[in-house]
């Protein structure tokens, strides 16, 4: 049982609760922001992960998502724009016993910090990256982001943006990420499931969370958040299960002869024709095709764990070796090092 270090008066440790992970700082996101739901989910999930708050670290960059760390009563750092994965790398490799989480946004991790994101994923650094994707720059008051749709009209693009957007999951898969998942901010149970899996994954986990910005980009994810459309559009990926969805599970995903994916009526093809979801497959092709099944989250869109494979964790095992080495050296070894093998001695005259 995980405990919070306090006892009930009879010496029995009390289990950790959401309160142990909630700081006393007043949350300052706009009323109605999707970040509130994510925060509540994370604070509730933390106790069951079994890592005490003092061994948990949240690191964020700049943007609305960056404020997240102030509301978690763990160790935390609100760093600079885009650099959180690099900072987290430095921390995680030097303190592997810590549980290190990165909270970032679409501008923070896909624009100014794109390089650090792909390299953290490539290296498979033991950190968990939560990308709050609202497809807009919120803190700077409404410019288009690297995930905004082409033609997006914003303050900085009054005639519509010219940029083709990133597909964050496809990018992460392209960077050889070993754990790639997606969830929707208000689906608290599902967000918790995905984050639990992310926390258990060895190596870098990448979770895109669709997060509604009700001020600058309201409704971007209505197809998945609103009660009626979500019944038609939410494709819940479950390992080992045929990929099907719809109000009566009447639709499904099949492979075309060329290997690409297609959405069909199950009645037309039969259940046995459906693709069975396999996030542990070495080959990322299915995950990649699923990431591209919905180019925009405006129709049927997969959520859940796209990929979860095992690959050597960055510098795993090296830590113990280095610590052991470090603890066994002193003045004598230092002197030997300085001598360098080819020193000479000048005797006193």
């Amino acid at each position: 049982m995980s405990t919070n270090g306090h006892t009930n008066g009879h010496g029995t440790p009390l289990p950790m609760t959401k309160k142990d992970f909630s700081s006393d700082q007043e949350t300052r996101w706009c009323p109605g922001c999707g970040d509130y739901a994510i925060l509540a989910t994370v604070q509730s999930l933390m106790p069951e992960l079994g890592v005490p708050p003092e061994r948990t670290v949240f690191i964020s960059g700049i943007g609305c998502a960056g404020r997240f760390v102030y509301y978690m009563d763990t160790y935390g750092m609100h760093s600079i724009h885009g650099r959180a994965p690099a900072l987290a790398t430095g921390l995680a490799v030097s303190r592997p016993e810590l549980s290190v989480w990165v909270v970032t946004g679409d501008g923070d991790s896909l624009s100014i910090g794109g390089n650090h994101l792909i390299h953290a994923l490539r290296r498979n650094v033991p950190i968990k990256i939560l990308l709050f994707n609202n497809q807009i720059y919120g803190l700077t008051k409404g410019q288009y982001s690297p995930t905004s749709e082409q033609g997006k009209v914003t303050k900085s693009t009054p005639f519509g943006s010219q940029d083709h957007p990133f597909n964050p999951l496809a990018l992460a898969l392209g960077a050889e990420a070993t754990f790639v998942a997606r969830a929707v901010d208000t689906d608290r149970g599902h967000v918790a499931d995905v984050l639990r899996a992310a926390a258990q994954h060895k190596g870098a986990s990448f979770v895109e969370i669709y997060q509604n910005c009700n001020v600058f980009n309201d409704g971007a994810f209505d197809a998945l958040r609103e009660k009626e459309p979500r019944k038609r559009n939410m494709i819940m990926l479950e390992a080992g299960q045929p990929i099907r969805f719809g109000e009566d599970n009447e639709r499904g995903v099949v492979h075309r002869p060329d290997g690409s994916l297609e959405i069909v009526d199950v009645a037309d093809v039969g259940e046995e024709a459906l693709v069975i979801h396999d996030p542990e497959h070495r080959d990322p092709s299915l995950a990649f095709a699923l990431a591209h099944l919905a180019e925009r989250p405006i129709g049927p869109t997969p959520v859940g764990v796209f990929r979860s494979v095992s690959r050597p964790v960055y510098a795993e095992g090296l830590y113990d070796e280095l610590e052991e080495a470090r603890n066994s050296v002193g003045d004598e070894e230092l002197h030997e090092l300085l001598t360098g093998g080819d020193a000479w001695t000048v005797p006193a005259a």
Binding site: Y75, H78, L91, E323, D331, L337
Partner: protein
């Protein structure tokens, strides 16, 4: 040629001569042979007395081809000795070097002692018949032939070079034997050839008793950092991105797993600085290094370090700028960048190493300040310090003072509260690392409330925090010993320097004094803050001269801080000062 130079240096050091070296090579890895821009040179100055600089004007020039002769002849002393590989003075090579006629034959070198040696031919002959050796490999060993020849000329011991070749090429017997043969052939040629009627004997220099080794600035920096890690008990996390000349430090440190050194090659300069901040947050000794362009990129992250008040060291191996500039050439152009190259009021301590061996002390001092005051510290070295070498007397490691990280272990506020920005007597804040129960806290780049560390936009709080950060850095001067001034009675002129010009300044001052003129000199180890007594020192001289390998950066600080009418002497040629240049500059004022 760099290899031949460093082998000669090691043999010279082992012999007990004092020495200083100046490697000078192009940025291109395989610059076209025979062209003027492709010349790779290695200069060494050694003597039976103490040596301060690599020398202004060498006595002997070994020219392996016409381009090497052309680019280096101007530096050779008049009447000096030229040893030329005459085989390389072909029409093609002469044309590449821009010679109309062969200088070995047209009388243009009549003022010099010229020795023509068919090095290529003799090397090829000496390496014939070795199994597994191609004609190309035979030719390549001609530098080792030259090394053998020079070793004879100056009576260098051969065993150390022979041993080195045997070890270096142990895995390739063909190459090993070719190098050994070439080396011996060169040595024997010197001994038997009548045309080289010069043989010098340079006796060991009288030096302080102790254990010595030959060391360059890069190795000394690495060892200083490792020593600081051992003395603080902090694990070292070193992250950097490849850049000339700072990469050498990454190579050097990555060899020392035995001391628990964790090195990381980051995806870019910014990430390297970021990894170091992350490591520092976790309670490690975070160190990154770069050269000019890389330091530009790290600026924002260093600013975060200033705001977070976490210890870390940033080594800047300065090189000639701006932009890519001259990556393999030296300069002291980054002092202003180190001082002011961050937005906002963002002061941090700066130390500058001044000889190759002294990089060891400088690295330890940088770590000591960083840990004691919880701040990023910039350690300035430069290309010249990093690459050049000198005999270094090993410190007694037991005498290196420990560095106490003083990690926070418990609450420091009322009712068990933890105040991450409650300062100690040094104005330093607690270093509370993740994993410590009861000290959970959040920090970041936003302005913080005094003591609590909570986000604050309060105007008076920002003013207070800005002043506290500045005062904290200023307090570093409280630890400094009085500035050492090399004064002589009656001197009215002070030469004030910093960084790698130390040797040139000392040599120039010595020469000026030999001419009967009075002059004093002082060298700054700490550039920020400056020593408390600097103003008093400056004011006790009629004239202050500040030589720098830049356009005058320290001099601006001196003038601004103290309203002293200091005079600037500058050099921006990618090369260290020559002692005679500084001698002339000082004589103008003394």
């Amino acid at each position: 040629m760099q290899l031949a130079g460093s082998r000669f240096t090691d043999a010279t050091a082992m012999l007990g001569n004092d020495l200083a070296t100046l490697p000078d090579f192009p940025a291109e890895i395989r610059a076209p042979a025979g062209t003027l821009h492709g010349v790779s040179a290695f200069q060494i100055h050694f003597a039976s007395r103490d040596i301060l600089t690599p020398g202004d004007h060498p006595n002997v020039l070994v020219a392996m081809n016409p381009a090497a002769l052309k680019t280096n002849l101007a530096a050779l002393e008049k009447g000096g000795t030229i040893v030329a590989n005459e085989d390389a003075f072909t029409d093609n090579n002469l044309r590449k070097a821009g010679y109309q006629a062969n200088p070995l034959e047209d009388g243009s070198l009549d003022d010099y002692q010229l020795f023509r040696v068919p090095m290529t031919t003799m090397t090829v002959r000496a390496t014939e018949g070795i199994e597994g050796i191609m004609a190309k490999d035979q030719q390549r060993t001609k530098n080792v032939f030259a090394l053998g020849l020079l070793s004879w000329m100056y009576g260098r011991p051969t065993e150390i070079t022979v041993e080195w070749i045997e070890k270096k090429f142990a895995g390739n017997p063909g190459i090993r034997d070719a190098n050994l043969n070439a080396f011996r052939a060169g040595y024997n040629f010197g001994e038997t050839a009548e045309l080289l009627a010069v043989h010098y004997e340079v006796k060991p220099a009288p030096v302080e008793p102790g254990t010595y080794r030959n060391i360059n600035g890069t190795s000394a920096t690495a060892m200083g950092l490792i020593a600081a890690s051992v003395k603080s008990g902090l694990r070292m996390v070193y992250a950097s991105y490849p850049i000339t000349p700072a990469s050498e430090l990454l190579h050097e440190l990555s060899r020392h797993k035995r001391f628990g050194v964790r090195t990381m090659q980051a995806e870019d300069e910014i990430a390297a600085a970021g990894m170091v901040v992350g490591a520092a947050f976790g309670g490690s000794l975070g160190v990154t290094a770069s050269s000019g362009p890389g330091l530009d990129l790290k600026a924002e992250t260093i600013g975060l370090g200033v705001m977070l008040e976490l210890p870390m060291v940033i080594v800047d191996v300065q090189r000639a700028g701006p932009s890519t500039g001259m990556p393999t050439k030296t300069e002291q152009g980054d002092l202003m960048l180190a001082m002011y190259g961050r937005h906002g009021e963002s002061p941090l301590p700066i130390v500058a190493a001044y000889t190759p061996g002294q990089c060891f002390d400088a690295a330890i001092e940088a770590v000591r300040i960083a840990v004691k005051y919880r701040t990023p510290v910039i350690l300035l070295t430069d290309t010249f310090l990093a690459n050049s070498s000198e005999p270094w007397r090993l410190p007694d490691v037991s005498q290196i003072p420990p560095i106490d990280p003083r990690f926070a272990t418990g609450p420091n506020g009322e009712d068990g509260a933890f105040l991450p920005y409650l300062r100690d007597e040094n104005l330093a804040r607690p270093w509370a690392v993740p994993g410590t129960p009861g000290l959970r806290h959040r920090i970041g780049g936003l302005e913080k409330q005094h003591e609590t560390g909570n986000i604050s936009y309060d105007p008076t709080n920002h003013a207070l925090m800005t002043r506290l950060r500045a005062e904290k850095v200023a307090k570093v001067a409280d630890d400094m010993p009085p500035l050492e001034v090399d004064h002589e009675d009656g001197a009215e002129v002070l030469v004030l320097g910093w960084g790698s010009s130390y040797g040139s300044i000392r040599a120039a001052v010595r020469r000026v004094r030999m001419k009967g003129r009075k002059v004093a000199s002082a060298h700054l180890f700490h550039l920020n803050p400056l020593p408390h007594d600097l103003e008093e020192v400056l004011r006790s001289y009629r004239k202050v001269i500040v030589p720098e390998m830049n356009m005058g950066q320290l001099v601006k600080i001196i003038r601004a801080e103290y309203l002293v009418d200091a005079e600037s002497v500058t050099k921006v040629e990618g090369l260290p000062f020559f002692a005679d240049e500084l001698e002339a500059a000082i004589l103008e004022h003394a």
